[in-house]
């Protein structure tokens, strides 16, 4: 019995990996290939009698409460382990607001008393999945599309590109197009719009997109009658199905479309890593699952690089893409599961260290990114 207790003391508890996305939260154990649950980032708020999203907050106190409720849901309904004395790997974007991560740290360390938290940024974790020294991570999430270059396990910070070209942009366009199709203001809830997107929408190839833009009527895809509960079915025309994701590729003078920001990211990277980056593009994130999106992105990149202003600034003509080693929506999570399992949480910020300083290291903070003399 004594020996058994000794083993229990030595053995580190399996850490959990938390990816708190804007729309969906991925949660599970390190060393496992898939998260235990992917659920909407919302919880039942009894005082307001509605589902409340974690990312809807006005004050730090409200955010604190949101985290407490959400983590309680995750720990005791889905993963069923004690949060106490267990390490956590937090998968975060490099552009996570400071308030958000500081509050999360406070909740994890003081409210749930976890023994350590490993803060890991999603681009590097995605690069772990690939195993290549250079990788250009294009992560298309709920709110934003982020393009990050990872060269030898470091992020090229000044080349990070982010634009609000995510699922929410598509939803907005889709609901506008659906109103046009049905000639009324439908006011569909977000969940139904999302369901229509998942079930019917796709991204056509480049030639078709050009034809749509010039107004040349072509043979649209088949339209779909989408049934609604308690209402008449609505029509989702072929045009709507094809053009819903078009805002991601819409170009204007700001050059802020998805292929544009990828090329700009490459241009801003060191010249000796540009070719390798262009040949190691990894498109991930939940929105990347839309059929045809990756193919369209490849076509757009190959076309745009021959156009000004890129043709005289980039001599790269070849782009190569990675097929992922995980599902698109949980690639960063899987990277977190790898990183947490590989070194047994040695890189985690321990609880006593946090208690002493009560702050997190962060790349925009001068305390952390200036060299000590």
């Amino acid at each position: 019995m004594a020996l058994y207790e000794g083993i229990a003391l030595i053995q580190e508890k399996q850490a959990v990996v938390l990816d708190l996305g804007t729309d969906y939260t991925k949660f599970g154990f390190t060393g496992e290939a898939a998260p235990r649950c992917i659920i909407r980032s919302e919880f039942w708020c009894p005082s307001e009698r509605r589902y409340k999203r974690v990312h809807d907050y006005k004050t730090a106190e409200e955010l604190y409460d949101n985290f407490v409720h959400m983590l309680h849901l995750l720990y005791f309904r889905h993963v069923l382990v004690n949060p106490k004395e267990r390490k956590v790997v937090v998968v975060e974007s490099l552009l996570t607001p400071t308030l958000f991560r500081e509050t999360l740290a406070k909740v994890l360390f003081t409210h749930y008393e976890v023994s350590g938290v490993m803060w890991a940024d999603s681009p590097r974790l995605c690069a772990l999945i690939l195993g290549t020294p250079e990788a250009l991570i294009v992560s298309i999430g709920a709110r934003e599309a982020e393009v990050t270059a990872v060269v030898h396990a470091s992020v090229v910070l000044h080349a990070i590109q982010a634009q609000p070209l995510g699922a929410h942009a598509i939803h907005q366009e889709l609901s506008k197009l659906l109103d046009e199709d049905n000639k009324t203001e439908l006011k569909l809830p977000e969940q139904i719009i999302e369901d229509i997107k998942v079930k019917t929408c796709f991204v056509g190839n480049r030639e078709r997109a050009v034809q749509w833009a010039t107004g040349n009527p072509l043979m649209p895809a088949k339209s779909v009658q989408y049934p609604l509960s308690g209402r008449a079915a609505i029509t989702v025309s072929g045009r709507t199905r094809e053009l819903a994701a078009e805002p991601l590729f819409a170009r204007d003078n700001e050059l802020a479309s998805l292929p544009d920001i990828i090329l700009q990211c490459i241009i801003q990277c060191p010249i000796d890593s540009r070719r390798a980056l262009a040949q190691n593009i990894f498109v991930t994130g939940g929105t990347a699952t839309i059929p045809g999106l990756k193919a369209r992105l490849a076509h757009e990149l190959r076309y745009l690089v021959t156009q000004p202003p890129y043709c005289d600034r980039l001599s790269i003509r070849e782009f190569r893409f990675h097929k992922s080693g995980a599902h698109d929506n949980s690639a960063a999570w899987a990277g977190g599961a790898l990183a947490g399992a590989a070194d047994g949480g040695a890189r985690a910020l321990a609880r006593d260290v946090y208690a002493r300083t009560a702050r997190l290291r962060d790349w925009p903070c001068l305390l952390d990114n200036t060299r000590r003399h």
């Binding site: 599970g28 290939a33 898939a34 235990r36 649950c37 992917i38 407490v68 309680h72 005791f76 993963v79 069923l80 382990v81 106490k84 003081t110 409210h111 772990l128 999945i129 690939l130 195993g131 290549t132 020294p133 369901d195 998942v198 079930k199 019917t200 796709f202 991204v203 056509g204 190839n205 078709r208 043979m219 895809a221 088949k222 779909v224 989408y226 072929g238 593009i281 059929p291 045809g292 193919a295 490849a298 782009f319 190569r320 893409f321 990675h322 080693g325 995980a326 929506n329 899987a334 599961a337 790898l338 990183a339 399992a341 590989a342 070194d343 047994g344 040695a346 609880r351 006593d352 208690a355």
Partner: protein, 373 residues
């Protein structure tokens, strides 16, 4: 006064400063303080399946990934699946002609079982799962398509982490190596540990990790991206055959996109929670082990100790006049209780909530230090 569906009118101040109805408060008998769900520590007590009410030890639950082995959820509507039995028909097959023995067997009707959902009429036959000869268990399982690659990556990164650790140790040793006056055997003979192992006929110590390092192949990027099939533009869309997002995310490891690839979901286990006071570490509630029982072994609810206040009648408050408010206060204990009504000016300033949490953190940290010393 607390209601099931109405708003709670009478709220009590918890020791952490939150306002809660009496139904969600606890009373710690050891600190003599009111506690609420926010300022106590929740713990997982026991795992059980909510459908078959079977207890599962936590080690077994961990092994089975918190899933019941005999109950299933419908992958289409998430209702619990039922096992249906069917008497197998004696089929005139080629086997009959082949041997006479089968005829004898065929005379006895054989029962086969399949899973069926009474809510949406999904059956395990829809997706081609063969019927089972036994009523429970033995259902084929689907594995994660990315599991192999993930395990390769995991081995690789574990090897990398180990190498890193070794190098770090080596550096530390070199830094602090004190040349003693005694010459060690390895210094004198130039015999290193690796060579000693070699002479003794033992396998080199880190052969496993170096082999994994050498054999690892990073993900290969390809210029071709999966294009949309041409018939995508002309094919009719069958909404019933495409899974919704919640159906996909219910199985995070596979995320089936087509209805034909849905697979029964093993039912998720539930937990019984015990609650502990953060200040004194005593149990506030502890459920009985038996999953069928809803009683508690320890149940320190505020309802048993704190007088309950009910509003019997009230007048609306008008300026300059007295209004009547009729309260009913019930003493739940068998002992005498003294009651004092405070004027607004007498209300003591509440202790701030984060302070108490920080205090508890500090306390546990000092405890840790004491243990370490």
């Amino acid at each position: 006064m607390a209601y099931l569906i109405q708003e709670d009118y009478v709220k009590y101040v918890c020791s952490c400063g939150q306002l809660k109805p009496i139904t969600s408060l606890y009373f710690c008998r050891h600190c003599l303080k009111i506690r609420c769900g926010f300022c106590i520590c929740h713990e997982v007590d026991s795992h059980y399946c909510a459908n078959c009410l079977e207890n599962m030890p936590s080690s077994e639950a961990r092994l089975k990934k918190n899933r019941c082995s005999s109950c299933f959820d419908c992958p289409s509507c998430f209702h619990t699946l039922s096992t249906r039995a069917m008497i197998a028909q004696a089929r005139p097959s080629a086997q009959d002609g082949a041997s006479g023995d089968t005829k004898v067997e065929n005379k006895q009707p054989k029962k086969t079982y399949y899973l069926s959902c009474f809510n949406c009429r999904w059956t395990s036959r829809d997706v081609g799962i063969p019927d089972q000869p036994v009523a429970s268990g033995g259902w084929p399982e689907r594995t994660n398509p990315f599991a192999n690659r993930f395990n390769q990556l995991l081995d690789y990164y574990k090897a990398v982490a180990q190498l890193e650790k070794q190098e770090k140790l080596e550096r530390e040793r070199k830094k602090f190596a004190i040349r003693g006056k005694y010459i060690t055997l390895t210094d004198k003979t130039g015999l290193t540990g690796a060579m000693a192992r070699n002479i003794a006929g033992l396998p080199p110590s880190e052969s496993g990790s170096s082999a994994t390092l050498a054999n690892f192949t990073p993900s290969q990027a390809s210029a071709e991206v999966e294009e949309l099939p041409e018939d995508f533009y002309t094919k009719e869309v069958d909404l019933k055959q495409i899974t919704s997002l919640s159906q996909r995310l219910a199985a995070p490891a596979r995320q089936p996109a087509r209805g034909s690839r849905l697979w029964p979901l093993p039912k998720r286990l539930s937990v019984k929670r015990s609650q502990r006071c953060r200040a004194c570490d005593h149990n506030l509630t502890k459920p009985e082990y038996n999953p069928g029982s809803i009683k508690f072994k320890i149940e320190l609810l505020a309802y048993y100790h704190v007088p309950e206040v009910k509003i019997i009648s009230f007048e609306s408050v008008k300026p300059g006049t007295r209004s009547e408010l009729l309260l009913k206060v019930t003493n739940p204990t068998g002992h005498e209780m003294r009651l004092r009504l405070l004027q607004p000016s007498d209300v003591p300033v509440e202790e701030e909530q984060p302070k108490s949490i920080e205090k508890s953190l500090e306390k546990s940290l000092t405890l840790e230090k004491v243990c370490n010393n």
